[in-house]
């Protein structure tokens, strides 16, 4: 159950690509006082090593312990961090120059080798690191992912020029690659860390504004103290960060109420209403970038007609379901890209709007569906109710019976059904972005044969537009191509977008200034305390 939750939240930016919250914090290092111990709610991270940590709790700790080539500003755009410059002529070969002077807490320098060894380690199948997926664009990835690969094999696309310079060659041009580099899976690693992964996981060797005190006390707490040797300008503000680990969000909420915690990122949904009246402006609520959709088996003859797919979508009253079942804690999807992403257009998906009459009319023009339609979800994860609401909506609109298929409660097994395209009807799945480029919502899910294209959707025009966008001169030039690709999805409706999640953060009176980044969520190290 827990794993399913983490996995659904997989990907780096799981939540909160919220717009800039100018009134909540500046994100800069000006203003506010330093000091204090910030007590933070956390669930148990999976790993504290950049190559392996791919879940939200891990990344929120890793981002204070480590720093990478780029970070994101309040607009969600990449900004140079440890990199002095990142240059490319053709979006395929990238030259990275590093700033001098950064070191790991064990004294090793943060140089070209620190990045290359980390990426080579991550990308190598023999190490089975969770973040290997994100290395997929670097040339030579396929060779590193072959069975029987040597442990010391390296990417053919990574070359060291000198101590502070290296080049990255991609398999194909990708204009958004600089943005990708801000993901924590691309952070550097010390040689000592690779030599003894387990020790480094327990007692991380970072290069960031904070360092670990003692070791990771599994399931209890992780204590970080300010790293006085940190060479960057954005030094940590609180003297220490204490991540208190809870298995159960309700217990954590009781701890927050009892004054044991200062920041609680992700509030139990049933407490949001209560908090709005009690804490006032110490609560942040923003649509997150976690996407829930109802996939349609495009490989199934019955679901071939785009008009039918649109009609099904138009007969779903998303807002009513959200209000009735989720306490209004989600925002209905009006497109295929998270609303706060650069290039997303509000309301682009007309068929995502509830319009019963139009839906009926459109449905009449198609061959229709023969009931009962089987609606799939992984059982026991709270999807039964809303699926039922969707089914009831279709039943009253089109008169087709439905049947819930929620008997698979093991998420791995459910995903295997998805992989094998064995769903016999509409199915629930989710998606979290890999990097803050709108392409992350398009290519992996709908490109022909893409790993996460479970619907079996295939459209050459779409594939070409993604390629054109990837090889555009810059990210700005790429966006129109991606938007055209999204337009095709709107017309074809390969899946039915349902809604976006909600980011909620509540903090105590000890916090003077909350700092929230639209991409990387709460920046604990930049919070100032009273």
């Amino acid at each position: 159950m827990k794993l399913a939750a983490t996995v659904a939240a997989l990907g780096m930016l799981t939540a909160a690509c919220g717009g800039s919250d100018s009134d909540e914090g500046s994100g800069g290092s000006d203003g506010g006082s330093a000091g204090g111990d910030l007590r933070i709610y956390s669930s148990e991270p999976a790993f504290l090593v950049p190559s392996a940590g791919d879940d939200e709790p891990s990344i929120l700790v890793i981002r204070q312990l480590y720093r990478g080539l780029v970070k994101y500003n309040q607009e969600g755009a990449p900004e140079l961090d440890i990199a002095e410059s990142i240059e490319t002529e053709d979006n395929q070969t990238w030259t990275v120059t590093l700033k001098d002077g950064y070191t790991f807490t064990n004294g090793e320098p943060v140089d070209a080798d620190a990045f290359l060894r980390a990426w080579n380690y991550t990308g190598n199948l023999a190490n089975s690191q969770n973040n290997s997926y994100f290395m997929g664009r670097i040339a030579g990835f396929e060779d590193l992912q072959k069975e029987g690969v040597k442990k010391n094999a390296t990417f053919s696309g990574l070359k060291k020029v000198d101590d502070l310079t290296f080049t990255i060659e991609l398999t194909q041009p990708f204009s958004g690659f600089e943005s990708v580099l801000g993901y924590s899976g691309f952070f550097p690693m010390a040689q000592e860390c690779i030599d003894d992964f387990d020790a480094c996981n327990k007692t991380p060797i970072g290069n960031g504004p904070y360092k670990i005190e003692g070791e990771w006390e599994n399931n209890v707490q992780i204590k970080l103290v300010r790293n006085e040797d940190y060479a960057g300008e954005d030094t940590g503000k609180p003297d220490s960060l204490t991540y208190r680990i809870f298995d159960d969000v309700d217990a954590a909420y009781a701890a927050f109420e009892g004054g044991e915690l200062d920041v609680m990122y992700t509030v139990p949904p049933n407490k949001i209403g209560e908090l709005e009246s009690t804490v006032g402006d110490r609560l942040l609520k923003e649509p997150s970038s976690s996407f829930t959709y109802l996939g349609l088996p495009n490989y199934d003859d019955r679901f071939q007609d785009p008009d039918l797919r649109k009609a099904l979508s138009m007969a779903i009253d998303r807002q009513a379901i959200i209000d009735a079942i989720f306490d209004g804690s989600l925002s209905p999807a009006t497109g295929f890209v998270a609303p706060n992403f650069d290039g997303a257009r509000e309301g682009i998906c007309e068929a995502c709007e509830y319009d019963l009459d139009a839906a009926k009319e459109l449905y009449e023009s198609t061959d229709g569906l023969e009931g009962p339609v089987e609606l799939w979800a992984n059982g026991g994860a709270g999807h039964e109710e809303w699926l039922q609401a969707v089914g009831d909506g279709w039943k009253s609109a089109f008169g087709i019976d439905y049947k819930l298929k929620v008997d698979v409660s093991d998420f791995g097994q459910y995903l295997e059904i998805a992989d094998n395209q064995e769903f016999t009807g509409p199915y629930r799945l989710g998606w979290g972005p890999d990097y803050p480029v709108m392409e992350t919502y398009l290519a992996p899910l709908y490109t022909t044969g893409a790993p996460s294209n479970n619907s079996g959707y295939a459209n050459d025009e779409f594939d070409q537009l993604i390629k054109d966008g990837d090889s555009a001169d810059s990210l700005e030039d790429a966006i129109p191509f991606y938007q055209q690709a999204e337009d095709i999805l709107v017309e074809d409706m390969p899946v039915i977008p349902m809604w976006w999640g909600l980011t909620t953060v509540v903090w105590s009176e000890n916090v003077a200034e909350m700092v929230h980044n639209p991409i990387t969520d709460v920046d604990y190290g930049q919070i100032s305390m009273n």
Partner: protein, 336 residues
Amino acid sequence: MGRYVVRRLLQFIPTVLGAIFLLHYLTSLGIQMTGNPARAIFGDRRPSEAQLQAMSESLGLGDKCLERVGDPCIGLYFDRLSDIFLRFDLGMNFTRRPVTDIIADGLSYTVKIVIIAIIFEILVGITAGVLAGLRSGNFVDYLVKISTVLVISVPVFVLGFLVRDMFLVNVGNSVRSSGNFPDWFAYGLMSPVYKPDYPWASLIIPGLVLGSISLATTARLTRTSILENVRADYVRTGRAKGLSEKRVIGVHTLRNSLIPVVTYLGIDFGALMGGAVVTEGIFGVPGIGREIFRAIAQQQPSVVVGITTALVLVFLVVNLLVDILYAVLDPRIRYD
């Protein structure tokens, strides 16, 4: 006595082997029926065959027998046994944490709250039971009978939530803001959740909640047992030959009445070890109960086998101690 203990210890071996086999078989069957749990680690991103294979291997799920439904995976069983008994290696969980570490960490918290619970049961439960049993039919007896029924009928999670949200949060907040109490009380004992700064104080309330239900059972068992024994011949004999009331009750009656109670406490100790999962969840105690719950939900065979085997051992040892205690309590019981 010594030979008896050795014989009992030898009996542990088939019990543990059998338990491990059963667990091994069931977890393997679970994987055979529902598919490779390693797949869930990749989430929405479909892994390639080679990736899935490499991940499975690294998690000890690579054996082909895990794909054949009904295959008891005998080879894997003996691999497991040799890992456990020859190398003291219980395997790893999905985040590469050695199961031995998980057990050591988790047990340290669970044992603490279970000890608090058992002490609470012994002190309060037995005292209440003795008082009620000796004064059968009077006020104390009714008080004990009614309050124990009340406690038994409140499920532990209701009690837990009430104590946490009403008492520790609300009352606790006023205690903390008043500043009239020492820190260990205001921030330790009254902390709504387990707090690493106060490793014992913050576990007292969870321990009491955990012990409350067994407390009622203990009190009732003691009461009944005392009631039965005060009418026994040996008590009448004792009184007739002029023993003091203190000695008749405190030594002879109580000692005999405790046999069923000790049996119950022994079983309860084992049951609480695994059954603390609800209490641990409510009070954020990082104990073994939650670990095993998570391991089952995520289908992590090494963790399930490791923790359960450890619990089986705890159970066996505690019950051995109980059996030895019988001989102490009742001299008529001889083990040679």
